[in-house]
Amino acid sequence: MTMTITHHPDVSTLMCCSAGSQPEACAAVIASHLAVCPQCRAEVRRMQKIGVALFEKLEPESVAVPPPVVKLRAAEADDVETSKPCVLSAGEIPQFLVSCVGPCLDGMTWEPVARGIWTHAIALSPGACGDLRLLKVAPGGSFPEHGHVGWELTLVLRGSYSDEFGTFLAGDVADLDEDARHHPVACPNAGCICLMASEHKPPLFGGADRQK
C-alpha cells in the first residue's frame, strides 16, 4: 500500500522531535507520521546527527560509580519483540496507539461533540502539557472557521479534509501555528478521521471528554 503524502510537518517540528524535546502529544503525532513517511524519516535521520555532534562536544563529567555488574547478556537481554517497528496503513491505528484506543477505528467508542463531529480523547502522562485525541467528522461535515491559541498538529488517518491550506489525505500532517486560521471541511464521500495534538485543549471538546 502506498500513500501519497504531500503535507509534512515543519522542519522545526521534526528537529524538536529528533531532539526529544517536543511535548508528548506532539511526539505521538509525529511518530505516527514517521511510520508512514520515508521522506521525513530520512530528515530525522539527518537531524539526529546534530544531536550526536552536540553530545560529543559536551564536557565529560567524572562518574563516581563503577560500571554496573553485568551478567551474561542472555539472562537480562530485553525481549527483542518489544522493538518492532510501528506500521500504519490507511484507516488503521498506529501500532503504539493501539494500547490506548484499541486496534480498529471502526470498533472504538466516540463521544459526540457537535453535529457530525465525534472525538475520542487519549490520556497523556500525568503532568504532560497539551491535548491528544482522535477526531471523526462525518462526510461533508465542517468546523466553523477558527483560530488557534497554540500549536496544533493533525495527522489524517482515514478519509480527507480540505481547508485554506489544501487537501489533507491519509498520512498528511497539518502543522499549524497559533496565528493560523482555517475552516476545515471533511471529504464529502469518506469523511475524515484524524489524530490531533494541540497545545491547549480546543474549547469545542470541553464538554465531551468523560475521562478528562
Binding site: 511518530a31 546527527k49 547478556r73 497554540g150
Partner: protein
C-alpha cells in the same frame, strides 16, 4: 567504539562493556545535568543508559549508525521517560532505519564519519542566534515554546532560526556528493 559495542552485542563481552561505560557514562552524565537533572540523578541515569545499552546490544548493528548515535538515542529516550516522566513515542533509530531507504538521498554514499564531520563543522559555523536555539533544543531539551519563553522571542522566530540552521546543515551534507 562501534567495535566495542559489537563485542558486547555478539558475545556479551563484559570487558568491552566496561570500556564502553568508561567512554560514555561521563558524557551521558554531562548531558543529563544539562537536561536539568541533579548530580546524583544524572549519575544514576548515566548508569541506566549504559545498562540499557547492555540489554539492548543485540539490536545494534553498525550498519544502523554509529555507536554514539545509538547510545545518545538511548540516553535521550531515558531522559524523556525518567526526567520528564512522559511516554517515549520515538523508537530507537534502527526501528526507523531498518527498511531500506525508499528515497535514496544524494549523501547516501558519504561515509558516516564524513557526514558527522560535516555536521560538526557546520554547527560551529552557525550564527550565535541559530546555534543557541539548536543547543537549547538538543542539549537542554527545551520545546519550541520553552525556548521562546527562555529567550523572550516570538515562537515564530525560534522556529525560523531552527529551520535556517537545519537548512545549512542539510546543504552541507548535500553538496558533498
Amino acid at each position: 567504539m562501534a567495535d566495542l559495542l559489537q563485542r558486547v552485542a555478539a558475545n556479551g563481552d563484559v570487558e568491552a562493556f566496561k570500556a564502553l561505560f568508561e567512554a560514555y557514562a561521563p558524557r551521558v552524565k554531562s548531558y543529563m545535568l544539562r537536561q536539568g537533572a541533579d548530580a546524583a540523578t544524572a549519575e544514576e541515569l548515566a548508569q541506566e543508559t549504559l545498562l540499557a545499552v547492555w540489554r539492548k546490544a543485540a539490536l545494534y548493528s553498525d550498519e544502523k549508525g554509529s555507536a554514539t548515535t545509538w547510545i545518545f538515542t538511548i540516553a535521550r529516550n531515558l531522559r524523556i521517560d525518567r526526567l520528564r516522566k512522559e511516554v517515549v513515542w520515538q523508537p530507537l533509530p534502527e526501528n526507523n532505519d531498518e527498511r531500506p531507504s525508499e528515497d535514496p538521498s544524494p549523501e547516501e554514499d558519504l561515509s558516516e564519519r564524513e557526514r558527522a564531520e560535516r555536521v560538526r563543522a557546520m554547527l560551529s559555523e552557525l550564527p550565535p542566534d541559530q546555534s543557541e536555539v539548536v543547543n537549547l533544543a538538543f542539549i537542554e531539551g527545551l520545546s519550541h515554546s520553552e525556548i521562546a519563553t527562555r529567550l523572550d522571542l516570538p515562537l515564530g522566530t525560534v522556529k525560523s532560526r531552527m529551520r535556517l540552521a537545519y537548512q545549512k546543515i542539510r546543504d552541507a551534507l548535500e553538496d558533498l556528493r
